[in-house]
Amino acid sequence: MDALTLLSRRDVLKAGGGFVVAFAFGAALPRVAFAQAPTLSGAPPTGKPIDNSEVDSFIVMHADGTATVYMGKVDVGTGLRTAVAQLVAEELGMSAERITVIDGDTGICPDQGGTGGSTGLTRGGTEVRQAAATAHQMLLALGAARLNRPVVELMATDGEVRPIAGGAGVGFGALVGGRRFEMKVDPKAPLRPAAGYRVVGTPVPRPDVADKCTGRLTYVTDLTVPNMLHARVIRPPAVGATLTSVDEGSLRGIPDVRVVRVQSFLAVVSKDEWAAVRAAAALKATWTEARTLPGSSGLEQWTRTGAVERDQEVLNRGDVTAAIARASTRLSATYFWPYQGHASLGPSCAVADVRADGSSTIWSAAQGGPPLRATLAKVFGLPVEKMRIVFLEGSGSYGTNGSDHVAADAVLLSKTIGQPVRVQWMRADEHAWDPKGPQQLLELHAGLDAGGRIVAWDTQMWLSTNAPGTRALLAADAAGLTQEHGNGAGAMTQNGDPPYQAENVRVTAHWLKEAPLQMSNLRAPGKIANVFAVEGFTDELAAAAGVDPLAFRLSRLTDPRAIEVLTRTAEAFGWQARPSPNPRARQGSLLVGQGIAYMRYKQAENYVAMAMEVAVNPTTGVIAVRRVTCAHDCGIIVNPDGLRNQIEGCIVQTLSRALHEEVTFDRSRVTSVDWVGYPILTFPEAPAVRVVMINRPELPILGAGEAATAPVAAALANAVFDATGVRLRTVPFTPVRVKAALTQPRPAAATA
């Protein structure tokens, strides 16, 4: 293979070896071979189907008894590939280490839709598992023929079919290696009984971790293809501004750069990446003024008073209005969550190769390859059947970050100049232009009767409408191309109601006509703010009733799984049963408290409870989170270590969002464009995290990439209330905001 050449993964597979990339490395250094798929030992049969109904679309068994699994869902650092390998290994009866998973290549993987909403394992994994269960039946049948014994006397295990009674078996490789299964996925093919699981439920290490720790993994940012140019896109200084003039003379002294302009789409390309970076910074261009944004400083007010497109009754049980009127204690409170970004650590990157014959290949870290392909093909007028998106890992994305936009940038550039182009955004591009998680305003009203029962609960939420259609691509708008202008953030209203016994409950969503900035799904869309409000307000009710927050919750729950996560959390945490605030909060110069929160994800999936201990410095307003304990029940656990990693990540990332994060913007542009303007949690702030995982092997698989994010902000705010007696209802809990709240103590909730 030529130096500096990386073929698509399929071509590499065709070439028959591991994933070999040779780099021009200077005479003094050896060439480095990277093996992305070390266990991959044979080329898959040519013409492998990708139809979701075929076993061969998902599973290829090689002659040496290793297997390759092809899935449409993608692993964005979540461990999905490993978990899916375990599911397949279990059904086939082999070790997960002998399975390589290839994800998200639209040319060779079945289309399982985009990856998000914690559906990777639930939907994606289940589909692959059923293909494996079907293949298991075929392996037994082939074994029966080979061993000349009836299927009922055989078992598939340790990579071979062998007599249950003992005796020599025959390996999977020998049975099918190199040939196709040639059968439809049988939705009725029996799954292995959970009681006998050998691979599912074990902490199989992720093979990508070793590669990531040694620089061997090829991220999308690391890809090089022949004749590739590096590009940087110059985005307008204001959202909606158009380009009026470009002074190419401003690039004098920077070698080999070329300006590419398509209407208001402006970019520089060069063989040399640094030249492109320098040129993008140096290029003088003039743009029109644009002042279309509401600004972030008055965003709460803007959200409350903005034009409403429609009101949606999300839930209405009983008669809330009448019940509130009758209640003996009434409380109201308003909670606000600001705009937040995905803030991927590495800016989005893509490589596109659009050929004159209309065929195209796009290497991308986007979570939604198949829908992105449809959009790119349509917007740029390219035949979808000749477009292939090859997923390569990027910096973690947690939803739709800038990856779709940067892919569009790369496609437009490659199509325009007729050469493969790599575009990587700069830090400010990602912070300013990634579609973001929108603001949420929640107003809550509740009534308790004399016995402390919740007789009425009313949640009113204001949020920007999910406009239908695909999200507009920045490059296409700038270039004046026709496209849809959808703007959606996901299922924003879930978990807006309390998970506790309450007689009359209403949840109303007021959908605003406008969104301040482009939105997208950001991890656990809507749920984090909703649970922040619902569980914070629940704590306010407990405080008003003078009851221990844990006991208040437990006495209003009947679901044993809900009760178990709360009690296990409390036990592991060492919960002190007493009402908040903490009468003995003061420890030296600090105020110390505990907080707890519970939720069931989407009111239908994972059960999560979380407790926290915080120390608040009233002089500085700094909140230190000392420790977090979380009990988590997501049904069957496929990989306990992978699950724990996800839960820990959910907790720490959401602490960052609750403590620090707010996208700021003025009338023209996002102004929080680096890690100083948009700070995230740092190591000195990292708490000790303890996770209690409850395994239910008899229950179905649920995803776990999001659920543990949802109770974090509420548990934190509840702990701060316990420590200080002050209720924080607006995120982020910055020192300035905390100090201000502490110097103006307010009642725990507006009681009427």
């Binding site: 021009a24 200077g26 650092g77 990531k212 720790c213 040694t214 620089g215 650590l345 973690g396 190591f683």
Partner: protein, 153 residues
């Protein structure tokens, strides 16, 4: 074009750069194909690009290639391989201390430099030592465990 000679992962190399101010990061990634160091911010704020220069953790995104002249530069690839990882790399693998892994380079390089100066740090010292390295995935708990494991604690 001016050439800059330095040692890279133990071997003498030289690289051309039309711009003496070109950050070492681009030279490592594009001239030498060493993709361990990552572009995160280009501003010295995140640590994703960290390499060792004469054994010290250094942000290659803000280090001009001219400053590497005559020095010894070590990247993540120079520490070890999946087959023969360094102690710290092995500890990160054992703790499975990565999600997306985009920050991992910076964590391992910074901690390598930290442990070289202070082989038995306390947890607080490790947190302080990594305070300039950002991880968006929230892998902090595991990264700390990995560094403590490598220190023998």
């Amino acid at each position: 074009m001016p050439r800059y000679a330095f040692r890279l992962n133990g071997r003498p190399v030289s690289a051309e750069s039309w711009d003496a101010a070109q950050p070492l990061l681009y030279v490592l990634r594009n001239t030498f194909g060493l993709h361990g160091p990552k572009f995160g911010c280009g501003l010295g704020q995140c640590g994703a690009c960290t390499v060792l220069v004469d054994g010290r953790a250094t942000r290659s995104c803000t280090t001009p290639v001219s400053r590497a002249e005559g020095r010894a530069v070590t990247t993540l690839e120079g520490l070890g391989t999946p087959e023969q990882p360094s102690t710290l790399q092995a500890a990160f693998i054992a703790e499975q201390a990565a999600q997306c892994g985009y920050c991992t380079n910076g964590m391992i390089m910074t901690a390598t430099s930290l442990l070289a100066r202070n082989p038995r740090p306390t947890l607080e010292q490790v947190k302080e030592g990594l305070s300039g390295n950002l991880c968006r995935c929230g892998t902090h708990t595991r990264i700390l465990s990995a560094v403590m494991r490598a220190s023998g604690a």
